[in-house]
């Protein structure tokens, strides 16, 4: 079962729910941190990192001897990442999506592809949890290749919990794709509601079943509750605002460590999701 923890807006408590849920699930559990721009789960789970793997995207290098200046490469490239002005073309590595088009199209076979590192995947364990995270290199623009590399670690048969980046654009879709259920973490404020509706729209477009966790329940207004009611979205859990939780979070402590009664609640959340997925 693959559960993705997402939210339209950042800072709503995605990581709190993802790590707390992983800790409270028994058996074979994996946690994949796909928020590769700001991976934070490790701060809470303090895993033992056992190994890592570089993530690269293949970018072209041009053999000046073979190049006859046709410029076919520049014509096929949709991202202006290879530009030919008569002589051998110039490559702009940060713009290249690694699609391979230029190498395929070159009539002189003057282009070979070499990997360029854009990030890293690290793996290890935290107690009974198998832990995997991706980290985008600072200054790199494209996170999806790193997320795809993290998601290669998804194992059939395990309970896989995926922490997605905030938002609804292409990197989020990459994290959310091919999951069985999405937990949307939100807060009961106008911002929370606005971003929740966008996230719901995205998940419906991708046909992924979803439920909502309301974090810091009680702080704002009842817009989120009313929206869920009218849209027929189930509210899986309400986590009332509690300064103890904020303080624990600031120290890098997981929810069920800060307030032990959440262990049961989070385990209940996992059971409820499992029931929804199998029905």
């Amino acid at each position: 079962m693959r559960i993705v923890i997402a939210s339209g807006k950042g800072g709503t408590g995605k990581t709190t729910v993802a790590t707390g849920l992983a800790r409270s699930c028994e058996g074979d559990v994996q946690l994949l941190d796909c928020d590769v721009e700001e991976p934070d789960c490790h701060l809470f789970l303090k895993p033992n990192i056992e190994g890592s793997e570089a993530v690269g995207i293949p970018i072209p290098t041009v053999d000046g001897e073979k190049c006859t200046g046709h410029g076919e490469c520049g014509k096929i490239c949709q991202y202006n990442a290879i530009v030919s002005l008569g002589g051998a073309p110039v490559v702009f590595p940060e713009l290249c999506h690694g699609c391979g088009g230029c190498a395929l199209v070159c009539p002189e076979e003057a282009i070979t592809e070499v990997p360029r590192q854009v990030g890293v995947v690290e793996y290890g364990h935290s107690g009974h949890i198998e832990f995997i995270q991706g980290r985008l290199r600072v200054g790199e623009a494209m996170s999806p290749p790193v997320m795809r590399a993290v998601k290669k670690y998804v194992r059939e048969g395990a309970t896989t919990i995926i922490d997605a980046p905030p938002g609804t654009s292409c990197p989020v879709v990459e994290a959310v794709k091919h999951t069985d259920f999405a937990v949307l973490v939100t807060e009961p404020t106008p911002f929370g509601l606005n971003d929740l509706t966008l996230a719901v729209e995205m998940l419906r477009k991708l046909r992924i079943p979803l439920g909502v966790v309301i974090n810091r329940a009680g702080i704002g207004d009842d817009g989120v509750e009313a929206y869920c009611r009218s849209e027929g979205i189930s509210i899986l859990l309400r986590i009332p605002y509690d300064r103890r939780i904020a303080v624990a979070y600031s120290r890098g402590e997981t929810l069920e460590v800060a307030i032990p009664e959440y262990r049961e609640k989070l385990a209940g959340l996992a059971t409820a999701i499992a029931a929804k997925v199998s029905s």
Binding site: G8, K9, G10, G11, T12, T15, E37, E38, D40, L43, I76, Q78, Y79, H97, G98, C99, G100, G101, L104, V105, L136, V138, G139, E140, A141, M142, S143, P165, P166, G167, T168, S169, C170, P171, V172, V173, K177, T189, P190, F191, N194, D195, L198, E201, M202, K205, L206, I219, G220, D221, R243, A246, V247, Y249, S250, R251, G252
Partner: protein, 301 residues
Amino acid sequence: MNELVVVSGKGGTGKTTLVAAFAALAEKTVLADCDVDAADLHLLLEPRIRRREPFKSGHTAFIRQADCTQCGVCDTHCRVDAIRIDRDPDGNPTFSVDSISCEGCGVCVHFCPEGAIDFPESTCGEWFVSETRQGPMVHARLGIAEENSGKLVTLVRNEAKRIVHDRHFELLIADGPPGIGCPVIASITGASLVLLVTEPTLSGLHDLERGFELADQLGVPTAVCVNQHDINPSMTETIDRECEQRSIPVVGHIRHSRDVVHAMVAKQSVVEYTESPVAEEIRKVWHQVNAMLQAGAETRA
């Protein structure tokens, strides 16, 4: 012209709350919401939309079934698994493009032996120019599951700059996106000042470090503001020290206060909503930031 961009490594640290307050305190300002993926500033400023434009960027492949011979060349070349192969009960395949996965590289379009793949320009969102009670605002909405957020951010910034120029204003305040990827790079490159809003948490500190690194790589001046500083005073100290070591000015600490959410519910900025201490702290932050902007402008001149 000065351009202030407010960002936070992690989302939800109070970026938009600050931008709305600065907008109320600053004069002759144009606002830009560069958080095109989850824009919230409009909720506080209630813009009246004056101009609305589609955002076209990139292309998406589309297979014309009538011309497709099911040879599979497109699937061989696609590196993002965007070619879907559905089989009928007899096992006959139908090839189609999953428009959500397609990154618009055009390789299948070029290599399809039948020329069966169309490649129309895609509309990835919309952008708007509005009037608000705090002045003009440029904002946008990236379509669900769309790419090219960096390009949309650049468009929003450029449009906002044009308005600053046309109206002889001096300041642009931008609400930036979270993270450190493509839209963030597009938001802060070339800004006069980046204000990093953080919270005194372990993850706040961690994300702040990545933010510093990025700002440093791009060569933009940076300042820090610690929001909800009283949640963890010793972490606030750690952040202050970290900033001092890097010679990055801390322009203020803002307390945790329920007034912030109450103001949001009332569709107001904190400084419009209340005179309470939290509003006072935000005003102080603005004065510091404004002083930095003025000083920066003098050095540039």
